[in-house]
Symmetry: D2
Subunit: 137 residues, 4 copies
């Protein structure tokens, strides 16, 4: 799988009094990228929720390199760096004109909605991800 | 009932690139004020949700007078201006040192969670609100 | 001018524990629509800020009709219902498959950034808006 | 220095359609905690900005352990784990009734506002932080 690219625009809602994108919001941008990667593979969020499971973020390790500004056009670049039975790790970058502004590794686990306990990623989802993931190397 | 007062602080998360509080966030401040008014009457959000009903905002009419800044200490002043069978209207102000920055009328309806259709406000909630409301005049 | 249409997707960041779009966030959606309308006329936010003026929201009157859900594809429909010397009023709807979910009138004023006092909308911006606005009737 | 404790309440604005606190928002909670720690030492955000410098987050490494719910009362526990010339690292936890829900290490750098380049933390700020930091051991 080649990296997934998702374009977005910076709006005033994304900025803070420093005149730049509020750093917390890059995590929202990254989630949009992951969501669209999953959607491009045929999995809307709704699909997962129907089985009483959901994906939740268990960890985020983010580095900020340069600030984005109001009106900037950004791209979220997403790949899967690890796929396990009950979780996966996304490697993501938010870039502007090819220049990385922010990069992160996000660990997303599949949990049972009622108990919030880790469970196996649904079979159909896992096999599609595995196929994509192995194609990558 | 005298007006309900709820204090809050402006954090960087609340601001935008204009260097002031992002106007949309006053609606969050107002909701915190309404939530705390209800809590002061003995009604946490959870209590309502348990009966399969929930309060949802059906309308908001907001005027912005002066901007708030980072670090400002604000107060949300809330009263109930109308109480009907299935909805109520809150009159709210966000003030700084007694000076109004933002004022609004928020119409909040009680709906059945499954259908999102209006239903009567639960009896215990309604009677407490009515008592408070009538005391006001 | 025909109405301006701006499409957007609902992400998890837009929702709340009620399982629907958090009502405050429709105001963000509407601002994206206004921003893109202005951009389509040649005016990025940056252009306004350069003259030491900025647009700020002075009032918002919003009605909520039906809730949007996670993953929904929405459209923000925007027109200008009034154009004055120092402010304009936008009429906006957020729709899903042609069905209105939320509608609002947003009053946006042009202010001097330093003082936050109302000033005339920059001439070039005003004349383009006026031309668009008069074409409408 | 003993750890700094900052209490907060979970409002509907903090939650998502999963019925829990949206994980991105813990970063907002943590920033409130850091801001109040700095304020308790005599440094409002405004003080830093006046010298043409500002603190920006350069990195965040966050682990999510258990979800918080609507209405929860949380505490942000903050300490400084490293103090360098131009940056510091905060160690933070968001806890509920003593139980950690989320923990993170946040690297905050001092930059020149115009260039966004790292600069030395202002002397008065650095010496107070150093004093607090050394007291800790």
């Amino acid at each position: 799988m080649s990296d997934h690219h998702f374009p977005l625009r910076v709006y005033i809602e994304d900025t803070d009094a420093g005149g730049i994108v509020y750093y917390v919001n890059y995590l929202k941008f990254m989630e949009r990228g992951r969501t669209e990667l999953m959607r491009s593979l045929g999995f809307g969020k709704a699909a997962i929720l129907e089985e009483g499971r959901m994906f939740v973020v268990h960890g985020a390790d983010v580095r900020y390199l340069r600030p984005a500004q109001l009106d900037d056009e950004l791209t979220v670049v997403t790949s899967i760096s690890k796929l396990a039975r009950s979780y996966l790790i996304f490697r993501q970058q938010v870039v502007r004109s090819g220049e990385p502004l922010c990069q992160g590794e996000i660990k997303v686990a599949c949990v049972e909605q009622a108990s919030m306990k880790p469970v196996a990623i649904p079979g159909t989802v896992h096999s599609v991800l595995k196929q994509q993931f192995s194609l990558r190397k």
